[in-house]
Structure formats: C-alpha cells, structure tokens
Amino acid sequence: MSSIKPKVSIHKFSSCDGCQLAFLNMGEALLELASQVEILHFAEAGPLSENASVDIAIVEGSIATRHDLQRIQAIRANSAYLITIGACATAGGIQALRNMADTQQWIEGIYAQPEYIDSLDNSEPISSHVKVDLELWGCPINSRQIVVALRDLLFRVTPKPERDKLCLECKRQQQVCVMITRGEPCMGSVTQNGCGALCPSIGRACYACYGPAEDANSQALANRLEGLGLVDKQIAQKFLFINSAAEPFQNTGKARLK
C-alpha cells in the first residue's frame, strides 16, 4: 500500500441521513478510519470540500431535484470510484413510492405555495444518471458493509457485493423459520442478506429493506403469500415498500395492483 492516504468524500442526496450514521456510529473505529483515509468532504462530520477530486466518492440518497442532477455529474467527474450506500442511492428508496403517483398533485395538496418546490417527478437511484462502481444495499446499511468495502479497496481488491438470500443467513444462525412455523409473510427468500437476519432473529417477518437478492423469484413468493391468505393489495405493498423501484420487486408488486 502506498503511503499516500486515499482521498474520500461522502455526499448526501434525498435521504434520512441514516446511512451516514454507519460512519458516525462506528465508535472508536471512526478515528481509526480517519487515520487510514483522508476524508475531504463529509458535511455531517465537519470536513467540507464538495468539489474536491477524490479516489472514492460515497453517495447517500436518491436523485430528487434538478439541482441533484447537476451535483451528481460533478461528483462522478471528480471521483475515480463511486460507491452508493443504502436503498435511496441504490434503488430510489422509500420515496420512490412517489414514482407511481402524480407528484404535482401531492405538492399542491401539501404546500401553500407549490411553485417554490423543486421536485422531479421521480426519485431515482444514482445509477440512473452516472456509472456506479459498487452498490451497498440496505435501509440502512451497517458499519460492517462500509468497513469491508473500504478495507478491500485499501488492499487494492475489487469489493464483491453480497447478493445472497437472507434465508441462507437465517439457516447459518439456526433461526426457526417464521414463515414455515408461523405462517408469517416473510420476504427473506427474495431479499439479499447483509443485515444479519435481524427480523427473523426477533421472531418477525423480513420486510425486504435490503432489496432484491440475486435471482430472486419474487413471483413465486407472491404466490406463496397468496397461499398464506394475503390479498393482492397486501402482496403488492410487501414488494412496493423500501425498495419499490428495484426489479423484480417493482414488476411483481405492480402486477398485483391491477
């Protein structure tokens, strides 16, 4: 490894700030991280240099305004490697639920002066606008995911995204399956792992906050949910939630809305 520390920037778009907490909640590891990379821009933590050229740009949040479009182009142009963190940046996030609605009508229903609101019709993932080198899924991502990715890059290894299904993690932990034993509408069989099977570990059904797994057979799960007694609207809402704009959740969900 060279003695020059890689330069990193962390940017925020439309989001809840929760994925940036994967850094701020690291505890003392945050100080260690700061000794290994040079953080040039991270508004929530202090450093400010939005337009700095960096080796790694880390992006939270979805593209939701015209101003966002300009910012993301500049960030891409200024970075060698771009990582999206979380459901918003990677799949449009929960706010992508608006993509299925007439946003202008919503704005008019909410704001007294709708002409002042800069809002695109859709909330879109970063990859709809620029090339993304690594996507870290999850709502929110956790510190382990970001540390693994940065560790890989520091060792000059290409990070390998995890797209395994949650069911595998559940089995490894020897959790009792909530769907088989209790008929819970668990999304684990189509959802990618990364959280550590948190919901099944406390006895509740997975709600797919980590997005679709590799080769997710969401159609089959939709049929199974029907077998458990869910009506079409309920099935649609299971798929159209935190990652509603991600395939194949979107297709499966929308098909049940008809």
Binding site: C16, L21, N25, A112, Q113
Partner: protein
C-alpha cells in the same frame, strides 16, 4: 413574509432533516432579511402512508430520520394505540422508556461531541478534536455507542430499529442481556458525570435572551412518551388540542413548514424540556451539575449543550433503574384490535416535541396522517435568534466571522439539518456590495449591469447577477448604484450586458436576447430610485462612441406575479455564466 396559513387537515409533509443554508440581507447596517433555508427535497411520507396498514407505520415513519427513528416510532404507535384503545402493560411502558433513553443518549452524545463541542474548542471536526481532547472524544464515542446498544437490545439495530410495533415489542431481551447492559450503563453513569464536568471547562458565551419554551410535562416523571403540552407562558393543553394553538405556515424559502404558537416563535428540545421539567430530576442526576456554574431554568441558548449532557445522565439513570429490576415478561406485546378513528401521539424526540395525528378505518388502514417534527417548529425561533445574535455581535464583521457566529447559534438548536449547518452557505447581500465588498476593476472584461428593484419578481435580475459574483472577468453593478459609480464602469467596460426581468410567456427563468424596443414594457416597473433599462441604454450611448458591445438580456418572470424559485434563479445564473464565459448570445 410571503407565507400563508394552510389547513392542517390537508396532509402536511414536512421532512426537514437535511440540507440547509442561511441567507442574510444587510442594508445600512441592519438585517433586512434573514432566512434559514431548508432545501431537503420533499419526501411525501404522509402520502405514502395513505392506504397502508397500521402495521407498516413504525417501519415507514422511522425512515423520516435516521438519527431519531425511535421518536417517530414512539409517537406513531402511541397514536394508533389511542385509536384502538389498546391497553399496554407496565412492562411495555417501562421498556419503551428504555428504548427512548437509548435514542436520547446516542443523539445527544453525537451532537455534543461531533457537532457542537468543536465550535467551542477551535476545531473543525471530531477528528481534529480527538487530536487535542482524546479522552473526552473517546468518552463521547463510548456514550454514543452505549445509546446505540440500548436501542439494539430492543430493536436489533440502532438506525431504523425493527423491534417496536403497535401493541408492544416483537421480542423481549433475555435477563442475561439486561445484566450485561446494566454493567455498561454503570460505566456510562460515571462517564456522564465526567462529561458534565468537562463541559464546565468550555467557555460558553454569556448571552441571556427571551423566548418561550414548550415541552411535554408529566405529573410523575421526566417526559418522554406521555404528558400535556406546556409552556413557561402558562400554556397547558392536551396533545389533542395542539392544532388549536400551533399553526403551520409554508415559507417560500423552505420545504419545511414553519410552526408558530399563537403566532409567535417558540423553543423545543433539551433546554426547553429541562427548563420546564428540572424538578422531575433526582439529586443523583443533578449532583454533577451542582459542581458547575450552570443552573436551570436558563435562558442562554448556549446552555443547550449542558442540558443535553444532563439528559444523557438522566437517561442512563432511568435505564439503569428499569433494567436493574428487569424480568422477562410472559409476552412482549398485547393483542391489538383495529377500529376506526382519529388518534394523536406526541413524544419528546431528542430535538423536542414530535406530534403525529392519524385517521384510520376499521381495518386499521391509514386514511390520513399529519406529522410535525421538532425542527420545523424550531425554525422560526432559530431565525429570530440568529438575527438578534448577529446584530448584537456586530454586522461589520467579515463574512467568515459572521458565518461562524451564525452557524454556532444555529447548532445550539441541533436542527436535524446539523449536517448541513456544518456547511452553512452564508449569503450576505449588502446594499453597497458593488462599491465596497469588491474593489471595482476598471479594466474588467464584462460589466454585468442588473436592473431591478427590491420588490417581488422585479428583483430577479439582481438575484441572478449576484450568483455570478465570483465569475472571473465579470464585474457586477446594479441599477440602483449611484450614477457617479456607474459612469466610470460604463465608460471603460469592454463589454456591457444589461440584465432585466421581462414579462413573457417563456418558461420562468429563461434567458431571452432583447432589442431596445422590447424593454419598454418592463420599464414601468423599475423602482423610482434606480435607472431603468432605457435610461441606461441612453446613458451608454451618450458615454461611449462605440456602444455595439452592449447587449440586452431578459429573464422571463412569466406574468410577474411571483418571484422565481431559488433553483430557477440558480439555473438562470448558470446559463448566464456560460454565455458570459463563452460568447454572447
């Protein structure tokens, strides 16, 4: 201010945590306009909720804020339980307090160490702070981790936890988990004392002011999930009566909705809470405070950081008391029977009162939701305080000094745009900017002369031009600059661009190349104390033998009834900049 009251029964969506900036106008040594701007794009949570089951509510509202998801979950489940008339158990009530304690501890520890303390110790960030105050920073990170672990014990993770539901919790921690947590809390109890004593070494400004404090108040305890809404001015209402006293307005510079109490700004959050509830704290919690120079109630906003530390100590003590007596219950939840109705939930988020109102049908499907977060309620108070503080500080300080001073005031409130207030964009508009702020360069390449008046859409050209104040080779001048100042500029400029707002049916903010006769229509709107476009054009022709390098540009303002939005201004400015840097038109 150009704002109007909106009916609160219309689903109101006011996500505020996010990007912010401060805009300030100073004229003749006085602040004429000050806006805390919140640009965070709207995320429409109240709309997403319509048609979804009450069961989706905790997971949905958590996503409004990654820093205080527990608060959103708690206000929501209490509102729904009040509709369903759900009777929860004492175990659920106590463990919800523990859950909330975790969030207060982590959020306050984050704010004290990562956002606020660097201000008072001359550092830019916690990383820099750690180089000089290693022990204090490590203690702070330890406390933050303790808060997170408390949330994780009940919610499996600390950001968007998954353990809470309408009717209780999905699981109960084991007795072993509780024992281990008690040991960590005991360490935290010592840390909290050291934290308060460390904060006593900071030099906090002595700055008493008048403001109204609002918080929940409960007869028997320091408030979290329950209580009446009270103020230090005698307000004492149930949470259901909130809308009769608090009204939201949409200010044009913000995607957050401002709230006012009986038409006036008010303060929420740790300082307001402590001022109104300090008598509910035990001697053990208050003991370290007694060794400091700080006393509550306090009307010094800089004492917010102390209030946060006191609340950390309270929350650790509260969680300790509950977990020392912990027993695994038979069930961590109670049965829930949906029924139709309207219900309210109000809890004390780390930043203050978080008020929810829901209407559901008999299946428990949400018909309507209203969520009013603390930061939008504090916004008017922040603007009031920043204006007062800057005037007291002295407006003749340079922009960096003003920016730092304003940022520090804003951070006292820990708005959930703290992230953004760390890079607060301070825009100072001084009336004499062209003459004083930047020395005029007589050899300039291009003179951009913006025509307008300070009113409504007529200030568009000024606003657009202002965005270009750092553009190389471009000198700015305004139509209200004294003639004596304009004349040498006009005489020597190699290229002159006149910029004016134009009534047109083109999209708002569009730049239009104009000829002299097109200017006639708008000249009527020009203010009496400035020169109109025709006068300026005549002046240029008089001053310069060769006036062919003078160009006229219009900015479409539609029918002129509304000022342009910031984005439209910025877009126009960008197009203009490109034109100026390349070749017109």
């Amino acid at each position: 201010m150009n704002s109007k009251t909106i009916n609160i029964n219309v689903p109101v969506l006011a996500r505020v945590e996010g990007e912010g900036a401060l805009e300030l106008s100073i004229e003749e040594g006085k602040i004429t306009d000050l806006k805390l701007r919140i640009y965070e794009p709207p995320r429409y949570f109240e709309k997403f909720l319509q048609g979804r089951s009450y069961q989706d509510l905790p997971d949905t509202v958590a996503r409004i804020c990654g820093i205080c998801p527990v608060a959103y979950q708690m206000s929501a489940v209490h509102a729904v339980e009040s509709i369903f008339q759900t009777k929860t158990t004492p175990w659920i009530r106590a463990l919800r307090r523990v859950f909330y304690c975790g969030e207060w501890i982590q959020s306050h520890a984050l704010h004290i160490h990562m956002l606020a303390a660097p201000d008072f110790l001359g550092c830019q960030s916690i990383i820099e702070l750690a180089q000089h105050h290693d022990e204090a920073v490590r203690r702070g990170l330890r406390l933050q981790t303790l808060g997170n672990e408390l949330i994780e014990m009940l919610g499996a993770r600390s950001v968007h936890p998954v353990g809470a539901k309408v009717g209780g919790f999905f699981h109960a921690p084991s007795e072993q988990q509780a024992i281990e947590m008690v040991a960590k809390l005991e360490q935290g109890w010592h840390d909290s004392e050291a934290l308060i004593l460390w904060l006593n070494t900071l030099e906090l400004p002595d700055d008493i002011q008048q403001f109204t404090c609002v918080a929940l108040r409960h007869a028997d305890e320091y408030p979290m999930n329950e209580g009446r809404i009270v103020s230090d001015q005698g307000l004492d209402i149930s949470i259901e009566q909130y809308q009769q006293h608090f009204k939201e307005h949409h200010a044009p510079h913000s995607t957050a909705l401002h709230a006012l109490l009986d038409g006036k700004p008010y303060l929420l959050g740790p300082l307001a809470r402590l001022n109104l509830n300090h008598d509910q704290l035990t001697d053990e919690v208050l003991a370290p405070l007694a060794q400091t120079r700080y006393r509550f109630p306090s009307y010094n906003m800089y004492h917010s950081i102390i209030a946060r530390a006191v609340e950390i100590r309270f929350a650790i003590g509260e969680a300790l008391a509950i977990l020392r007596a912990y027993q695994v219950p038979e069930k961590p939840d109670v049965e829930v029977e949906p029924q139709a109705g309207i219900g309210y939930g109000c809890s004390e988020a780390p930043r203050g009162l978080l008020w929810h109102r829901y209407e559901v049908d008999q299946q428990g499907e949400i018909i309507n939701a209203v969520i009013i977060p603390p930061t939008s309620q504090n916004q008017a108070r922040i603007e009031q305080d920043v204006a007062r503080s800057l005037e007291k500080y002295g407006l003749d300080h340079n922009e960096n000094q003003l920016r730092f001073y304003a940022e520090r005031v804003v951070r006292n409130y820990d708005p959930c745009i703290s992230c953004a207030t760390h890079f607060l964009t301070l825009k100072v508009n001084r009336d004499n900017q062209a003459s004083n702020a930047t020395p005029l360069n007589i050899e300039q390449e291009t003179l951009l002369l913006a025509i307008g008046s300070p009113f409504g859409a007529d200030q568009t050209a000024w606003l657009v031009a202002e965005q270009l104040h750092t553009t190389p080779g471009v000198t700015l001048a305004y139509s209200n600059n004294p003639l004596a100042q304009l004349k040498p500029l006009l005489e020597t400029a190699k290229r002159i661009v006149l910029l004016d707002a134009i009534i047109s049916d083109q999209p708002l903010g569009q730049l239009l190349a104009l000829s002299a006769d097109q200017l006639t229509s708008s000249s009527k709107q020009i203010s009496s104390h400035g020169l109109g476009p025709l006068e300026l054009l005549a002046l240029i022709q008089q001053l310069k033998a060769d006036s062919k390098n003078t160009q006229l540009l219009g900015i479409s303002i539609g029918d002129g009834s509304h000022p342009l939005t910031d984005t439209q201004i910025q877009n126009s400015a960008q197009t203009l900049q490109q034109k100026l840097l390349t070749h017109l038109p």
